[in-house]
Amino acid sequence: MASTNPQESVRDHSPLPKVLVPNKPRSFYTIGEEPFTSTKFQYLKAYESPLPLDQFLATHAHSVKAILSSASAPVTADLLQLLPTVRLVVTTSAGLNQIDLPECRRRGIAVANVANVYSADVADLAVGLLIDVLRKISASNRYVKQGNWPTRGDYPLGSKLGGKRVGIVGLGNIGYEVTKRLEAFGCCISYNSRKKKPYVSYPFYENVCELAANCDALIICCGLTDQTHHLINKEVLSALGKKGVIVNIGRGPIIDEKEMVRCLMEGEIAGAGLDVFENEPDVAKDFFALDNVVLSPHCAVFTPESMKDLSELVVGNLVAFFSNKPLLSEYVDE
């Protein structure tokens, strides 16, 4: 209880350290803010202020030590310039492409990622999309629900998953979880990654094009960086071929989307399962006419289970940081 003496109330209340939240993360919308709160810190929510961001920061954020980033709250060099006391960026997103990592490194700012909390759900979606495309699940569900089975007969045959050569682009936590699952279906796995991974025995291709040429399906599991922008281009899609299928649970810009749409429309690849797009949520209308594409509204991580695990990790990282303990999930670039 605050006493009536103003001096005493200043002494009684040591202010909680602040975490800047430039924009409301999607996870705050989906499960509410409460699971992300703690008695050890408070959120400074720039998005709740009528002030433009730089004014808000100048007024309120001079001693802020941590930022909560997300897909809608990028951490740019310009932002960091306005926040000289920041020592930590924690993100709620699987990707780190919205954070200027070189700038963070330059300034000695630690970055805490989501570690493995999402990996199972994202891997499940990747496998689900692959099965859906090959076995035409969404398309034939549509067919039945439109009343076409009695009138138009059997649906066209799909393609067997077992024995398919599947190429993983990016063998990180998520890619690895995908391979564990696909092995049980009898798929032959190979991969392309920045570096060969010593802990797997799958064939490694240094070149994505070569990987595509030797696979029946590609699953994009890598992060978006300058190097991976439009990594999947005309050449790669052509190498994948007329019977090839592509699944993307990484980031839209990893694939040259215009080129992929053209390939799909002209039958130069056989199908696609996509959770991410170059210009979300504005998905190219050309996709809608295609029965061999499965579209997902960037929701690979949005299950109550993942959201709960995320909230615990975010709070855990922030509490650790403010108690000068090691972070639970510090991102270290290999």
Binding site: T30, D124, K136, I137, G158, A184, F185, V294, T303, E305
Partner: protein
């Protein structure tokens, strides 16, 4: 062998199977005949084999009408449409297509689980309708780690189990008897199995005993958060009860590849976002249907060349 008559009781929809049979035999297509009884009567003395599928087989009535029938070769693994006791009685051989379709059916079972829990079809529909521009899709349910209960641990049941294990799903099962070398938890009744799992999948053969093995009580035990997957036969599930369980929210969701009266599917299911409906495509891949056709033809050839049958059941 061209003078050997083979009666195809199922629709002659698969060109490869029809062509391969026509290369070797005289093929009679029952479904194309305007008067089926007359058709059978006209050709009964040359028909020595029947080729059927999951939907159309050889019942007692048909068998009685074909005095020269020696073998029934089904383009399916399920033989619920073939009167097996009658065939035994008349020393008619029966073959099916096991193993070649096991993986495809198991793949589809897992595909259905993912489609229902993660709302793949509904979120695809959400994007296509333009709704994503107005707001994000809602939360869906995690599949990894969910408990899976399998009714029938035969080839297909085991294949489903090994796949679900890769998603860290604890596996339990019901079968007529407990299997000695199996590490999964056994339940002596379907209702106990349903009460103890989150996803229940039907993977047993359809017999008199397993008709409506998933009934109202089982669905209630599976519950409002439970999901039923049927890749067996429509009659395994009491379909009207299934519809009301789903409409009333007593059952959390369903992924169905088979129905009691295919190709007719209960229309009240069409509008349910927690239900995925497929037109009996369990073995429906180009690769597997070809392998199945090769088995059907191979069994017939073996029989008429007096060689051992490839995949005999009777």
């Amino acid at each position: 062998m061209e003078s050997i008559g083979v009666l195809m009781t199922c629709p002659p929809n698969f060109p490869y199977l029809v062509e391969e049979l026509e290369k070797r035999f005289t093929l009679y297509k029952l479904q194309n005949a305007p008067d089926k009884t007359h058709f059978i009567n006209s050709h009964k003395n040359s028909i020595r084999a029947v080729v059927g599928n999951a939907g159309f087989g050889a019942d007692a009535e048909l068998i009685e009408q074909l005095p020269k029938l020696e073998i029934v070769s089904s383009f399916s693994v399920g033989l619920d449409k073939v009167d097996l006791p009658k065939c035994k009685e008349k020393r008619i051989r029966v073959t099916n297509t096991p193993d070649v379709l096991t993986n495809d059916v198991a793949d589809l079972a897992i595909g259905l689980m993912l489609a229902v829990l993660r709302r793949l079809c509904e979120s695809d529909r959400y994007v296509r309708s333009g709704k994503w521009k107005k707001g994000d899709y809602k939360l869906t349910t995690k599949f990894t780690g969910k408990s899976v209960g399998i009714i029938g641990l035969g080839r297909i049941g085991m294949a489903i189990a090994t796949r679900a294990e890769a998603f860290s799903c604890p596996i339990s099962y019901y079968a007529r008897t407990e299997k000695p070398d199996v590490k999964y938890r056994y339940y002596p009744s379907v209702i106990e199995l349903a009460a103890n799992c989150q996803i229940l999948v039907v993977a047993c053969a359809l017999t008199e005993e397993t008709h409506h093995i998933v009934n109202r009580e089982v669905m209630n035990a599976l519950g409002p958060k439970g999901v039923l997957i049927n890749i067996g036969r429509g009659p395994h599930v009491d379909e009207p009860e299934l519809v009301s369980a789903l409409l009333e929210g007593r059952l959390g969701g369903a992924g169905l590849d088979v129905f009691e009266d295919e190709p007719n599917v209960p229309e009240p299911l069409f509008g349910l976002e927690n239900v995925v409906l497929l037109p009996h495509v369990g073995s429906g891949t180009v690769e597997t249907r070809k392998a199945m056709a090769d088995l059907v033809v191979g069994n017939l050839e073996a029989h008429f060349l007096k060689k051992p049958l490839l995949t005999p059941v009777v």
